[in-house]
């Protein structure tokens, strides 16, 4: 079996398992899993930049929020139906990431991290500033009637599950195609050795900018779909915490692997779900896991699989 066939089978297999789970899992987990799949899509977007291009952003929440508000604000204030509103969400993410990328990519390393953090903070504060429209921290709810489109009702749990799966599966297979394409291989080359990639004649800035825009747009897709499926938009999704979480998911699941973001998001979601049953200080767990991962398991779960089981894991 060729590496490509193996990779396609693995990822289609994951999608099939998630499809089957809908019929097996108790109802309580349907909502959770839908959320995990949407957040995993966000993490996949993050991973394209962090895991595959080697650029550590601390500001991806602004892209997630761009999608979320691009969708939710057009529905709430302009009365748009979900399809064009979703598109507005994607577009907001694409435009914002192109802008931020063009500026932030003039810096490297730690400065890049801080610049993205600062831009994201500015985006968060901007949402607070326009509280009249965004309802700030408190956020606002999208009514069921506003979310129905083409006879589909995203507030129905089963529908919601399958919509989340559809988006997740699409982004997963797109990512698989991307990282195996010539463009994706150049991103990996840049991650591995930027100098060498440049001296092979690759335009580093253009490739990085492309990565930022693809990554930002995928994150925005997750944000827009989140608003659609869960009918809510709030400023906390633009806060620092939501920039840190995808980093945590990806580190845990394995940076630079396609299944890593999903594994990380799933694991963290249930970890927090369980801990928050005991204490309101559940973010302590997030902190401790971040420290432990950095100290003891840099590769994450996916990285371990790659090291021990299958070197070709995409």
């Amino acid at each position: 079996m060729t590496e490509t066939a193996k990779a396609v089978i693995l990822h289609l297999g994951l999608i099939a398992v998630l499809f089957a789970l809908q019929f097996v899992l108790p109802a309580y987990h349907h909502g959770n899993m839908a959320r995990v799949m949407v957040l995993a899509t966000y993490a996949m977007g993050y991973n394209l930049l962090f895991g595959y291009t080697g650029l550590l952003s601390l500001g991806h929440a602004m892209f997630f929020a761009a999608g979320m508000y691009g969708m939710a604000l057009t529905v709430r204030h302009l009365g748009w139906t979900p399809p064009p509103a979703l598109l507005a969400g994607l577009l907001s993410g694409a435009v914002l990431s192109a802008l931020v990328g063009a500026l932030a990519l003039r810096t490297v390393g730690v400065a890049f991290m801080i610049v993205t953090l600062m831009f994201s903070q500015a985006a968060y504060l901007t949402i607070l500033y326009f509280t009249t429209w965004t309802r700030g921290e408190e956020g606002f709810v999208l009514q069921q009637v506003q979310r129905v489109f083409w006879g589909i009702d995203p507030s129905d749990p089963t529908t919601r599950y399958f919509l989340a799966l559809l988006v997740f599966a699409t982004c997963l297979m797109l990512s698989l195609w991307l990282v195996r394409s010539g463009f994706g291989k150049v991103l990996i080359a840049i991650r591995e050795n930027e100098d060498r990639a440049q001296m092979l004649g690759y335009d580093i800035f253009a490739h990085k900018l492309g990565a930022v825009v693809i990554s930002g747009t995928m994150s925005a897709t997750a944000g827009a779909v989140y608003a659609l499926l869960f009918g809510y938009a709030g400023a906390s999704f633009a806060g620092v915490q939501y920039s840190i979480l995808p980093l945590l998911w990806v580190l845990l699941g394995g940076a630079g692997t396609l299944i890593g973001p999903f594994i990380g998001a799933l694991f963290t979601f249930y970890l927090i779900d369980i801990t928050s049953g005991y204490t309101s200080a559940y973010m302590a767990v997030v902190g401790a896991v971040l420290i432990a991962l950095t100290l003891f398991a840099r590769q994450g779960i996916g990285g371990e699989i790659r090291a021990r089981v299958w070197r070709g894991l995409p």
Binding site: V110, A111, M113, I114, M118, G287
Partner: protein
């Protein structure tokens, strides 16, 4: 005038906190995202220490002033030895790990100290009237208008910060410890070759940086209350100050702290606080993009 005195208090505390961050960055090349939490820890410990000591409020306060920064410094030094050292101060991993530290400290405080904001009483708090000059019939005249007053405690904060900053400066410039720290800053490996105990210097520096933030916090708790989420703003502001002042430059940091602390009050007269914050964060981002050496610095960072 009054606004600028309030601004001076902000600036004084900010300068302490930011100099702590700047020292750590300058000498260890570590971006400490948990710096704001060391600040918060200082405030919370100040509350604990001062409420533990009975007697006159001043006793508790002085105890807090000494104990809280020491404890925070010790915690930070411990974190340096157990965590940062083990990842070899790799810049990106350091940021991730200090983010982890941020959440751990913040949430442990939430679990133990709780979500309430608590005040610490100032050791003294006399109201002082301030003089005002005006041209009257007989030339320059001195007034003591009623509305223009401050408390002796605020003046004390400003003075204390100035003294501590001066001490840090002397430490860096005129003591053996300072020399050793600066040598380490220039070239860690070289310093090691010359027998400088780099590891201990790093632990000390990280502790000192955190201790300065904690000291700033102890000074401010009689004015603001201690709360487990209070670390966010000092972190953001210190970042702004350190970046604008030129990464790792102490004089630049102090100048920038004064500028930002003082202008904070003035800016918020014209803009809403949120808008002011938006502008400040964007300014920092753009400074990093277009002038990474800071607004005042000349050397490249």
């Amino acid at each position: 005038m009054l606004a600028s005195l309030e601004g001076a208090v902000t600036a004084a505390v900010l300068a302490l906190t930011a100099v702590g961050l700047s020292l750590v960055f300058g000498i260890m090349r570590v971006v400490n995202v948990a710096h704001g939490e060391f600040f918060m820890l200082g405030a919370v410990l100040a509350w604990w220490v001062s409420s533990w000591f009975g007697g006159h409020v001043a006793i508790g306060f002085v105890a807090a002033l000494v104990i809280a920064p020491m404890l925070v410094g010790a915690v930070a030094a411990l974190a340096d030895v157990t965590i940062l050292k083990r990842i070899d101060y790799d810049p990106e991993r350091t940021i991730v790990v200090t983010i982890g530290l941020l959440y751990v400290i913040q949430q442990v405080v939430l679990m133990t100290y709780g979500p309430e904001a608590r005040p610490v009483e100032p050791p003294f708090n006399t109201r002082l009237a301030l003089p005002w000059f005006e041209w009257g019939e007989n030339g320059l005249q001195l007034y003591w208008p009623w509305g223009l007053s401050t408390t002796s405690y605020k003046l004390f904060v400003i003075a204390a910060a100035a003294v501590v900053l001066e001490a840090v400066w002397l430490l860096m410039r005129h003591t053996k410890m300072g020399l050793v720290m600066r040598a380490t800053q220039l070239d860690g490996e070289m310093a090691q070759v010359f027998g400088i105990p780099v590891e201990r210097v790093y632990a000390f520096t990280f502790g000192l940086g955190a201790g300065l933030a904690a000291l700033g916090a102890v000074l401010i708790v009689p004015i603001q209350q201690a709360h487990y989420l209070m670390g966010g703003d000092p972190l953001l502001l210190s970042f702004i100050v350190v970046i604008i002042g030129g990464l790792g430059s102490l004089p630049g940091t102090v100048v920038a702290a004064l500028l930002i602390g003082m202008s904070d009050g003035i800016i918020s007269v014209f803009f809403s606080p949120t808008l002011a914050k938006i502008l400040a964060t964007l300014l920092v981002a753009l400074v990093l993009v277009f002038r990474p050496q800071g607004l005042f610095g000349t050397r490249t960072a």
